[in-house]
């Protein structure tokens, strides 16, 4: 299974050094939106998440897509 990395690019908030093995890109999209929802719902005091972006990269750390937290609202 390919490995995907989910980082938060704003202010270098989070560089995902672990990554996650997932079956396909659809699963990576689901992980990215679940991740963003977790942070907005369970860590609301940490910061204003609305302007944040999850950047999903492949094993060579090449960008595959960006997910905007705003799009989930």
């Amino acid at each position: 299974m390919p490995r995907y990395y989910f980082s938060l690019t704003n202010d270098r908030l989070f560089d995902d050094t672990d990554g996650l093995e997932l079956p396909d890109l659809a699963a990576a999209r689901e992980e990215a939106s679940g991740f963003a929802r977790d942070l907005m719902r369970r860590e609301p005091a940490r910061r204003d998440w609305r302007g944040c972006v999850v950047r999903v990269t492949d094993e060579d750390r090449q960008p595959l897509f960006d997910l905007l937290f705003m799009d989930l609202l």
């Binding site: 992980e31 991740f35 977790d38 369970r42 609301p44």
Partner: protein
């Protein structure tokens, strides 16, 4: 499997708290068994056949939903027991009990334990006190799961696991921890990475080590202290 010799109650604190003459009522029915990770000791809604007193390791008590999702409501280590409520007359388990960290336990048939509770005021007393503390733990967990943020819940969970298992080494995968907190793997990685870069924990695949316990306590929610005090309240002598 070997039978626990009469008069030796091992590391389990409930058994150790019993006066020798009361312990002798159950000693010959207690058997030492190994607890392998992932083994289900009791299923929610099913009859309890044995009562387990862990000597090492940790057991999770889980609420199970119809779709198969589970959430942890309490953990049991050598300070407690699994199925002790049957001593007070209950027949079915209110939760699924799963071995989370491998170890060992002393096990007694539920009917024998019930007979001992009826025969000994000391055994009845400790069964009642432990059931009360378990109810309070479950209550606190329900509030914690609904209200507290992920970081403080993870800190609480790591510290509680440390106390249950008497070790700073926590041999659990991040998949498992994510499931316990009800979040995505990546969310768990973000929280764990923050704690690691602050020097509180070290993690690698399938393993977390507590490096700075007091630092972790400062970041845990109030539930850690509350549950710890409730667990200790079962043993009034130890508090004096």
């Amino acid at each position: 499997m070997t039978t626990t010799s009469n008069g030796s109650n091992g590391r389990n604190r409930l058994l150790a708290a019993l006066p020798p003459k009361d312990f002798s009522l159950i000693a010959s029915d207690l058997k030492d068994i190994d607890l392998a990770q992932g083994v289900v000791l009791q299923e929610a809604g099913e009859p309890v056949e044995h009562v387990y007193f862990p000597q090492t390791g940790m057991i999770s008590l889980l609420a199970v939903m119809q779709d198969g999702r589970e959430v942890e409501t309490a953990t049991v280590g050598r300070e407690g027991g699994v199925g002790t409520i049957t001593g007070l007359g209950s027949r079915v388990s209110p939760h699924r009990s799963v071995v989370q960290i491998e170890g060992s336990a002393s096990r007694i048939p539920a009917a024998k334990f019930q007979a001992a509770v009826n025969a000994s005021a000391a055994i009845r007393d400790i069964a009642v006190r432990y059931s009360d503390s378990l109810m309070m733990m479950v209550q606190q967990s329900a509030g914690c799961n609904a209200l507290h943020n992920l970081e403080s819940r993870l800190c609480r969970w790591l510290l509680q696991t440390r106390d249950r298992n008497d070790s700073n080494q926590i041999p659990l995968t991040q998949e498992f921890l994510a499931q316990m907190l009800g979040v995505r793997r990546t969310t768990l990685t973000l929280i764990a990475q923050g704690l690691q870069s602050d020097g509180l924990i070290r993690y690698r695949r399938g393993h977390i080590e507590i490096v700075n316990r007091s630092g972790l306590e400062a970041r845990a929610c109030e539930c850690y202290g509350v549950i710890r005090r409730q667990s200790e309240a079962v043993f009034p002598q130890a508090q004096a």
